[in-house]
């Protein structure tokens, strides 16, 4: 008895959270394979190096800061100078530029006979030959101590920047996958979402351009985005009504819609990129709140809403019922057509939102956005455990599915695996996920024919 209960708990746990397990294992594998010595950069490195200098060299040290040209380098130099100033050290000069430029400036400083106690720089600069073994022209600098921020051991995979990159990549797919989960649970499919991304991005950018281009106000941008989402919702509703009223298979309807929306995007954009949008338009796609990217917050909120809707509200129950047995649902008083219409409309609108986020992330609207995105979205839903035959699936499973696909892709990028090999692997992952799901449902036995 106890044994049976334990095994049933195990079965239910693996059924509900098996993919979480896969996700965590993948994370662990990629963390191990990409672990290496890391050189800190940016503001964090500035703070770190300032602390090092202030604790290791006497007060009132004269420090020369040597950095490269990137934004991160500038930030590093700023923070470092500020911290050193506050700590009582003197920053003689910030030398910024490429090797030859740096050398020239250093020679000038040396020729003035300035005494330098510390040369603070990044690892890259510390390896310049003229800093490692100063030539005669740089003799006065030879006594200076070269200090770099201490390197640390950490996986590339777990770097904040990498996690953010995964999040930014996954966010559009994951948001659309919510709508796709609804549709697939009703045993339908929506192939038009990839094209709707492009359509929505183009419409948003176009409306912003008409409403003031680079000088457009926040109100114009919000309205443009909402209009694009509403239009995509309307296209979704159109697909939905074809499926419900005329009973055309969803595959065909949305295949047609996929062409219509892509074509419209190219026509509206005149096959051009529409980039006349204000800088502030990127707030949605690139902004942060409390260190979390805005689209990720939005995505999490949408998943929370969808999860609650599917598990606690009548609409969710109806969606499952329509997918599980349409006729039984209808005879039990479920408004089947309305439910289907809502699902396709939601899927279209969420694809529209995905398009607006894409446009914001890339600061332009182009008609070739979201190419093949529908397949990525469907893969996320299927890997997340939703059955294509309908009636079964979980919204949170889809989020996990999207993350699994994104993490595998990212991990392979970090490991420098060739793009074509990546495709093969991702394809095998989809096949494996579906196979596992089937086996799980048949009690780990081969199904009989």
């Amino acid at each position: 008895m106890v044994e049976q209960r334990l095994s049933s708990v195990f079965v239910r746990f693996t059924a509900d959270y098996g993919m979480v397990f896969v996700l965590l294992s993948l994370g662990a594998v990629f963390s191990l394979t990409t672990a290496r010595s890391q050189n800190p950069g940016g503001a964090a490195a500035g703070h770190l190096l300032a602390d090092q200098i202030l604790s290791e060299v006497p007060d009132n040290a004269d420090v020369l800061i040597v950095v490269g040209e990137t934004i991160l380098d500038t930030r590093f130099a700023e923070v470092l100078a500020q911290d050193l100033d506050q700590g009582g050290a003197t920053v003689l000069q910030v030398v910024q530029g490429g090797p030859s430029q740096v050398r020239q400036t250093l020679e000038e400083i040396a020729s003035r006979g300035t005494v330098v106690d510390v040369i603070a720089c990044q690892v890259r600069q510390s390896r310049y030959r003229f800093i490692r073994r100063p030539s005669s022209a740089l003799k006065p600098l030879a006594d200076a101590r070269v200090m770099v921020p201490k390197p640390y051991f950490w996986p590339d995979f777990l770097k904040t920047s990498n996690i953010r990159a995964i999040a930014n990549r996954v966010v559009v797919i994951a948001i659309i996958a919510i709508g796709m989960t609804f549709v697939i649970i009703t045993s339908g499919i929506d192939l038009s979402v990839g094209s709707l991304i492009a359509f929505s991005a183009v419409v948003t950018a176009l409306l912003i351009r008409m409403g003031g281009a680079a000088e457009a106000t926040a109100g114009v941008m919000v309205l443009s985005g909402l209009a694009a989402i509403a239009l995509c919702g309307a296209l979704g509703a159109f697909s939905g009504s074809m499926v419900t009223v005329f009973q055309v298979p969803a595959f065909i309807v949305t295949l047609g819609m996929m062409q219509v929306a892509r074509g419209l995007a190219f026509i509206l954009a005149d096959s051009q990129s529409i980039y006349q949008v204000p800088e502030s338009f990127t707030l949605l796609g690139r902004g942060f709140v409390l260190g979390i990217p805005n689209p990720v917050l939005l995505m999490l909120m949408l998943y929370a809403v969808a999860h609650v809707m599917m598990t606690r509200m009548t609409l969710g129950r109806y969606i499952y019922a329509v997918g599980g047995n349409k006729e039984a649902a209808r005879l039990s008083g479920v408004p089947v057509r309305r439910v289907l219409l809502i699902c396709y409309t939601a899927c279209g609108a969420l694809a529209g939102l995905g398009g607006v986020i894409t446009a914001s992330q890339l600061k332009s609207g182009e008609p070739n956005y979201g190419d093949m995105a529908e397949l990525e979205v469907i893969a996320a839903v299927v890997v997340g455990g939703t059955s294509l035959s309908g009636g079964e699936g979980k919204v949170l499973g889809t989020l996990i599915g999207a993350l699994v696909m994104a993490v595998i892709r990212n991990g392979m990028n970090l490991m420098n695996i060739e793009p074509n090999v990546q495709r093969v692997v991702l394809g095998i992952v989809i096949l494996g996920a579906v196979l596992l799901d089937k086996l799980k449902k048949s009690g780990w036995r081969l199904p009989r024919d």
Partner: protein, 499 residues
């Protein structure tokens, strides 16, 4: 006629034992079948009949026991083995490909070929011979989807004969047949019997057992309760063997008298199915609607319940005319339909029993679209108790229940809905005797509450035993009404049903 037992039985299953996780389905069950005999296999749902048949057909491997066919141990480990040994099972749901013709279905997987090509003429002749052997005429080239259910059944039997089956198992063969078709089926069965084929016949209809069977084997809770020649048994004794308790009467008495008119149907039509049907149902009345399959009974019920659109006619409930365009509106108006086909129309099989229960009831189990999960759980628990639904927990999937328990879940969901008019379409089809009685009690209880009940049924004893009034349909019309039920008999109804 009882076939004289030959020294070696055609089939001998001894001490068959089979367990599933949590269920001991078969406990040392014996079964013997002789050539040229019809053995009825009886038992309530869940008694182990299906499991025993699946062991015989190689779908399940037994945990213990032996199977001998004509004294030899054939080592049945797969359906193919069973087929090779001459065992054929004809299930309730046929295994025919609808788009292929009768001939192609009969020889599916064992095509008669000549240098790699299907030898049509040869197959056609053989098919004709097989049909002749059974004394029926069916066009071998007719696609199976155009054949009637009875004809499809004959094609299934022909398929078994083409595999030179010596043991044919028929699982509820009469469940979807009309009386006339059942008689024709029995003629076929007798024909097969005379050709030395052993038949295991599973049915819930005891009248048939007494008509066709030579001996009866009864199972109860996985145990072999005994095997007797049919001549030694009475109907009552047989039921007692199956349910293990004494049954006072087949149909419970109802104490309430019908009240005023509640549902009034006037001239409803659906082109090709229902032709100008008018009737009324009173409060506390059980109106039975009967007739042959295809008479338009289910179609009429679907019109009233909003499942199909009416071409003409009006439906009034308590004096108010209803414009019912969907089941949703009908349910809101107070009309509930318990469909004939539980699996296809009554339940979402892949969902839990509780969710199935909640489906028509969410409007009152929720507030502002939020489902009150605790209330749903409590309400369902109440019905599980009162209907004695056997489920391990409320999250059990509907597909894992026996037929009787599935029907009880369907009942629970509609009882909770508190409809004023309840239409039962074949409420006891495929349900064992004990559970049938409980459903009759429930129908009476609903009638006592003043509800108007329509009961569609093909089982005439049930119609006569339960109804206050009987409507008989034929060809989409009402062909007759019997108000004095206590003095009516099955012949009267059949006269009207044949039209």
């Amino acid at each position: 006629m009882v076939a004289s037992p030959s020294p070696i039985p055609l089939l001998s299953m001894r001490g068959i034992d089979k367990s599933f996780p949590g269920v001991h389905a078969l406990r040392k069950v014996d079964l013997q079948l002789h050539a040229g005999e019809v053995l009825a296999l009886l038992g309530e749902n869940g008694a182990g009949k299906s499991t025993l048949i699946k062991v015989l057909s190689g779908a399940h491997l037994p945990d213990g026991g032996s199977i001998r066919i004509q004294g030899e141990d054939p080592q049945i480990t797969s359906p193919v083995d069973a087929q090779r040994c001459g065992v054929a099972v004809i299930y309730q749901e046929f295994n025919l490909v609808p788009a292929l013709c009768a001939r192609e279905n009969i020889f599916l997987g064992q095509e008669r070929t000549r240098v790699g090509f299907v030898h049509h003429g040869n197959e056609q002749r053989s098919a004709q011979e097989l049909f002749e052997r059974m004394g029926v005429t069916i066009d071998p080239e007719a696609p199976c989807r155009t054949l009637s259910i009875a004809q499809q059944q004959v094609v299934e039997i022909a398929k078994a004969l083409a595999l030179s089956a010596r043991i044919i198992v028929m699982d509820e063969p009469s469940a979807t047949l009309t009386l006339k078709e059942v008689e024709r089926l029995f003629a076929v069965v007798r024909e097969l019997k005379s050709q030395g084929i052993g038949i295991i016949y599973i049915s819930h209809r005891l009248e048939e057992i007494f008509e066709i069977a030579d001996r009866v084997t009864v199972l109860r809770d996985g145990l072999h309760m005994g095997t007797h020649p049919i001549a030694d048994l009475t109907r009552k004794g047989l039921i007692e063997m199956m349910v293990g308790r004494k049954l006072e009467e087949d149909f419970p008495k109802r104490r309430c008298k019908p009240g005023g008119e509640r549902l009034v149907v006037e001239g409803i039509c659906r082109d090709g199915f229902v032709d100008n049907v008018s009737f009324s149902v009173h409060a506390s009345e059980v109106l039975a609607v009967t007739g042959l399959v295809g008479a338009g009974r289910t179609e009429t019920a679907r019109l009233i319940a909003g499942a199909d659109p009416c071409d003409a006619g009006t439906i009034k409930l308590d004096g108010l005319t209803l414009a019912v365009r969907s089941p949703r509106e009908a349910i809101r108006a107070g009309i509930g339909l318990l469909t004939e086909d539980r699996k296809a129309h009554g339940l979402v099989l892949v969902h839990s029993v509780r969710h199935n229960f909640g489906l028509p009831n969410l409007s009152w189990l929720s507030r502002l679209h939020w489902i009150n999960a605790r209330r749903e759980r409590d309400e369902f628990a109440r019905y599980v108790d009162s209907l004695q639904i056997k489920i391990p927990h409320q999250d059990q999937l509907a597909k894992n229940l026996s037929g009787g328990n599935q029907q009880k879940v369907v009942l629970a969901k509609w009882l909770a809905r508190q409809c004023d008019v309840i239409i039962f379409d074949e409420p006891t089809r495929g349900i064992d005797v004990g559970a049938k009685y409980e459903i009759y009690l429930l129908i009476n209880q609903l009638a006592a509450e003043g509800k108007a009940i329509i009961m569609i049924s093909s089982e005439l004893p049930e119609v006569l035993g339960m109804a206050d009034r009987i409507l008989v349909m034929h060809g989409g019309r009402i062909s007759g009404e019997i108000t004095d039920v206590s003095n009516a008999n099955q012949q009267d109804i059949m006269q009207l049903a044949i039209g």
